[in-house]
Symmetry: C2
Subunit: 273 residues, 2 copies
Amino acid sequence: MEQLIQQIKKKQSLLCVGLDTDRNKIPPHLLKEEDPLFAFNKAIIEATHSFTVAYKPNTAFYEAHGEAGWRALKKTIDYLNTHHPDIFTIADAKRGDIGNTSTMYAKAFFEEMAFDSVTVAPYMGRDSVEPFLAFEHKYAILLALTSNEGASDFQTQKLTEEELYKKVLQTSLTWRNSDRLMYVVGATKAEFLKEIRKIVPHQFLLVPGVGAQGGSLEDVCQYGLNDRYGLLINSSRGIIYASQGEDFAEVAREKAQELQREMEKLLSTVKVK
Amino acid sequence: MEQLIQQIKKKQSLLCVGLDTDRNKIPPHLLKEEDPLFAFNKAIIEATHSFTVAYKPNTAFYEAHGEAGWRALKKTIDYLNTHHPDIFTIADAKRGDIGNTSTMYAKAFFEEMAFDSVTVAPYMGRDSVEPFLAFEHKYAILLALTSNEGASDFQTQKLTEEELYKKVLQTSLTWRNSDRLMYVVGATKAEFLKEIRKIVPHQFLLVPGVGAQGGSLEDVCQYGLNDRYGLLINSSRGIIYASQGEDFAEVAREKAQELQREMEKLLSTVKVK
């Protein structure tokens, strides 16, 4: 956590790059590589790491290719840990199951692959999340309020006293090792951030949806930043698929740098403890 | 679906065997096999298939072994589809993400590996589930009311008018291709089954938690059966880890047969359309 805060300070950036690496969307010339997904990720990482404090591969894109995809994911996290050990890593896996099974998922992402964190779905409650929190120096990023349309199906439904997502936030604070929790909060719901910060003032929020999914960086920073920064802002498609040509990495770098510069401006107002 | 109903009729069984195959729990003599997880699964499948209408590997146990685990999972589903194509298969993966990402997960489990169904978490709502329902002759099994303690954290919380899990059930019926939905309902909540059957009278329920997790088979059948059977009852540890000796497959067979016999009695009262 301190390392993440140092990275944000040093790079003046909250940028998380989403490695949603889709075989059908990467530049065609990479398909002749032995491992196109990894070749693409490596190039994107090298192009963007100066402006980036976190990388977030979404596991779905790797699982869709079975064993080979899983190998590409493993090579990606190994590459990050070897060449950029200071950068925070997120397995965007949205896992969650009964206790012993969640422990197996935690082992998959914290041990078999050495990610710093994993995204977790809250529906099954305390004993489905706590196993992820049992690993020192590892974090679980809980789905709280997501950026998709379906978020209104359940997350913003009112319980007797409050909306479900607020109950999720409040309840999660009572869980063991809750200091290892972060939260997914959709950027397109910036107006909710004020409410969310009342409940979880100190935690990091992972905000997807700046870039291709829309969402205002200014709003997110205005209501989301705290005195330890407390924000990771993800962009996937807006960076990694900005060009499909041989210049894809260079263009990705430019897009990452653009975002970092906007972030730098917005960060200039923050006083970090 | 018709095939599943035929299997239940023919075998007089609702039994789903959970292949939660843990390297640390399988008989030690299998560890010298080239692929111990697959060798174990193959032996369990051969020992139990006469009494079993569905197999349900939980993906966590395979992911914990990375690429090799993923390979064992793939070999397991291929083996089932080759040797026992009539048996229903469930990837117990509890996935769910925004639309295009859920599509990738669906491809992972319906195409890359040819499972008949996958378990899905509802928290992200409609557009996170519908992509799984876009595949013909494939099913999504939605977490509704789970059997773990944490189920009371959110699932049984009251919304303004009803509990969250009821809202999940009701809302899911409005989703596109909702005829491809089944639901996870925890066996230890048999008293809830009556309520659940009011909302989803026709769908199949996957009931975990008979066996090692407790839960009364009688109650589940009394309140859960419908005129197309409508029940799959899972047992994992109670069957697959009943013995750790070289006789593990034989003992698994006995345990599966015991459960099937109890089921047969309870099924004798059902009139199927």
